[in-house]
Symmetry: C3
Subunit: 117 residues, 3 copies
């Protein structure tokens, strides 16, 4: 049985969970007013901090699911995403438009599966 | 090569799949008429039964993806969710509003990744 | 630390990522004009090719997430899906209607987690 390491766990969710060499994490923007470029940067900065706190980093992402609220945001999101990823380290990636995110004003939510250190 | 253990497999999907210490499972409500509190309880009760049948339990969930059809259901869903989770065992969690679920009347669908026993 | 094997990686995403015995991959249709049966066949044919190129195959899928743009497509998608899956090898499966996929005309996107060879 592998241990389960939870970080930043509230009653509702954990910031990150680590099990058997794999990290699971989900992030939303820190603001509800920024445009998609800003909100994408907020989400990715938070994900990078969490990965690094676990001894991993953005080069070790295995799978990403990107939820957008507006497909017109795709290009600007992709520009931030591609600049953020180290060359040669892109994960498998699903990207869909949802009908809404929990907080009005959020334009993006990203779920990641990553390899631990 | 790790073995793959499938439970309750139809031609379309399995109730649960276990591989390399990780359980994959997805659940929908057992009714199409209940309100979100009832449907959330239905989904979580089924997930708990499946986890326990595999020797795991609700304290070993790694990642949850919650699909809702109405964001007005969030608060009631969260109340049931938080009461169901043992303290300190919340998983990473994505929660989005989709444009629809397969069965009209379903208000929630939950996909889980959990640690096996 | 397990190695990470990325196949077909662009700046934006990889066709497949393999880590710790698990394969992550996402596929979209190769055309934007086909009906749901054709687009489902396109997606599944591509997934099968990718799995086989990695020494795995369609009998080793653990979890599938199917994103549709129209719930009226469910039955035809399921018919193709069930004919494609070898008997007894269905994965856990989430299936939801999203508000849109990145390319206009796409009717389906499928994300898979599979066991490597």
């Amino acid at each position: 049985m592998h241990t389960i390491d939870r970080r930043g766990a509230s009653a509702r969710y954990a910031d990150a969970v680590i099990h058997n060499g794999v990290i699971y994490l989900v992030e939303v923007p820190s603001t509800t007013t920024g445009d998609i470029a800003q909100q994408t940067q907020e989400v990715l900065a938070s994900l990078a901090r969490q990965l690094e706190a676990l001894g991993s980093d953005r080069s070790r992402i295995l799978m990403a699911t990107i939820y957008l609220t507006d497909l017109a945001d795709c290009d600007a999101m992709n520009a931030v995403w591609e600049a953020w990823l180290p060359p040669g380290s892109a994960p498998a990636r699903a990207c869909v438009k949802v009908a809404g995110l929990v907080q009005p004003g959020w334009r993006i939510e990203i779920a990641l599966t990553a390899a631990s250190a």
